[in-house]
């Protein structure tokens, strides 16, 4: 796969020799980005379908089954419906900010994917501070929600935006502290190095020494992406849909594109940070390792993150919604102390050189 890509890059340079080297580089980057964004958006579309199906079965229903065979065309039909619907602007709304909000939600959700490594050497860019980049760009997504709430000029969106801003800021701190432990083990903030450090079988994956951090990271990811049971930003029964109340048609759909893209990102990130990224789970198992050696690393990344994506749906179908002040308490009084304690535990483990992780 890498060889194929190398020959393709050389081909582009040969095909357009009259172009400046920089322009050819930009074209290659754009092609790479398209190769990532197209499957991503398709995954988002079918993730909504899977979500409705899975939650349907968990609640003893069938879920969508009318459009196409077994309802497979349902996401396409939904997309067409949303595209053809009218976009309604509330009177006295700030139109520019009202339209800027969904763009500010979706742009970071897609830009983050630039540094995600899917296999050894398969990424758009190998940034040296890629983990910080993920955190920084991911934290911009909150502007979409805050602006949506403010520009709508309506009370429920404003309440939703207030909740969202305070939740996201609190849980970003928790996620930041949880990731510090990962950085301490890997000794790098480069996602490629972090995955490379987990080579050599399941025992080397970071979820073993960082088990509580993995749990905290996943729960905080639920909050960051406004998923049930922490979806107080939308909370239909409390604030009738929060920030999205005044949005319709495509502007509404863009918010959900961003939310689902973020969910998939968090699943992939959990795999990269705690579950060995592109490394096969059969590494170091002799026969099994040889039998699965032909599987490309990207398959392992996608297979492992599919499990986390399923976990999102499972959690949503299982737990009732948290009360707002309880979510805040969970962040500041439970998670933050645990993460800080675990930073000291990891420091101790590093000093004592415990296990295969700290050598």
């Amino acid at each position: 796969m890498m060889a194929l890509w190398q020959s393709f890059v050389l081909g582009v340079h040969e095909l357009i020799p009259w172009l400046d080297g920089n322009v050819a580089t930009i074209i290659i980057i754009l092609i790479k980005a398209m190769a990532l964004i197209m499957p991503l958006l398709l995954t988002v579309a079918y993730f909504t379908y899977i979500e409705r199906k899975v939650i349907g079965y968990m609640q003893l229903r069938i879920g969508p089954n009318r459009v196409g065979p077994k309802g497979w065309l349902q996401p396409i039909a939904d997309a067409l419906k949303l595209m053809t619907k009218e976009i309604i602007f509330p009177s006295k709304a700030n139109i520019y900010l009202f339209l800027l909000a969904p763009i500010l939600a979706i742009a970071p959700a897609i830009a983050v994917w630039a540094v995600i490594p899917f296999d050894e050497g398969i990424y758009i860019t190998n940034l040296d501070v890629s983990l910080l980049y993920v955190l920084a760009i991911g934290s911009i997504g909150v502007y979409g929600i805050i602006l949506a709430g403010w520009a709508s000029n309506s009370k429920y969106p404003l309440l939703g935006a207030l909740r969202s801003a305070s939740l996201l800021v609190s849980y970003e701190i928790v996620i930041g502290f949880a990731l510090v432990t990962v950085v301490m083990i890997a000794g790098s903030v480069n996602l490629n190095t972090i995955v490379a450090g987990q080579q050599g079988g399941v025992i080397n994956w970071y979820f073993i020494p960082l088990f509580p951090m993995m749990i905290i990271f996943f729960i905080s990811a639920l909050v960051e992406t406004n998923r049930a049971p922490f979806d107080v930003v939308e909370g239909e029964s409390e604030i009738v849909g929060g920030t999205h109340v005044e949005y319709s048609g495509m502007t509404f759909a863009v918010f959900f594109l961003a939310e689902y893209a973020n969910m998939i990102l968090m699943a992939v990130l959990a795999v990269i940070l705690f579950f060995g990224g592109w490394h096969s789970p059969f590494e170091g198992l002799g026969m099994l390792e040889a039998a699965f050696a032909w599987v490309p690393g990207i398959v392992w990344v996608l297979a492992k993150s599919t499990f986390f994506m399923f976990l999102y749906l499972w959690v949503r179908a299982t737990f009732p919604r948290f009360r707002y002040d309880q979510i805040m308490r969970l962040s500041w009084k439970v998670f933050l102390p645990i993460t800080i304690v675990w930073i000291f535990v990891v420091a101790l483990m590093t000093q004592l050189q415990i296990g295969p992780w700290f050598s």
């Binding site: 920084a136 502007y143 800021v169 308490r329």
Partner: protein
């Protein structure tokens, strides 16, 4: 002009334009957004200087947290523009003097005498394996470890002081004890009593 120069001028233009727009914006929320754009342009210029750790930190801290809180506060405040404009003429002379002093100081400190090419040669390009964050960490945790720790302690004291100033013992309203609510069990709330119902004869 090399492509790098073109990028630099585009970014600087955006930086200056968004800073001006921030000052002249009438709407406070728009001013904050222009400031965010200014931070982005500054971060991009730093990335051009190969200081990617500083650039990302600028976005993470200022755009991701501080400006979010700014927007949060602006939404809550009801800013009355007329009272702010009423005293404009009164404050103008004082403001002008302060601005002139700041400009003079900046010319003295940031002029070509300190930052000219003779004093500070343009930074050399580094290879692909150059890690900005490692170099910075080596400096911070070896040469400057005491000032660094001292700054951290001062910040911690500031945080504690701010919290103690604001956090008063509440006497005016009742508060829920969440831990108590979370830890409650069914037997704390419901008491099941077995009652032998009287038969017809006993009545």
């Amino acid at each position: 002009m090399s492509s790098e120069q073109i990028i630099f001028y585009i970014l600087s233009f955006w930086f200056i334009a968004s800073s001006l727009a921030m000052i002249f914006a009438r709407n406070a929320a728009k001013a904050v957004l222009f400031l965010v754009l200014g931070f982005f342009s500054a971060a991009s210029i730093w990335i051009l200087l190969e200081a990617e750790f500083l650039a990302i930190t600028l976005i993470l801290v200022y755009v991701g947290a501080v400006m979010v809180l700014f927007l949060f506060v602006i939404k809550m405040l009801n800013i009355d523009k007329s009272t702010m404009r009423a005293k404009f003429a009164e404050y103008l002379p004082l403001g002008l003097i302060v601005a002139l002093i700041i400009i003079a100081e900046m010319i003295l400190v940031l002029g070509s005498a300190q930052f000219g090419l003779e004093v500070m040669p343009s930074p050399a390009r580094h290879g692909a394996d150059y890690s900005n964050i490692t170099v910075l960490a080596m400096q911070l945790y070896t040469t400057y470890v005491y000032p660094f720790e001292l700054a951290a302690v001062i910040l911690l004291i500031a945080i504690i002081a701010a919290i103690t100033l604001v956090h008063k013992k509440e006497t005016t309203h009742k508060k829920q004890n969440v831990s108590e609510q979370v830890n409650v069990r069914a037997k704390d709330r419901v008491r099941l009593v077995s009652i032998v119902s009287p038969t017809k004869e006993e009545k």
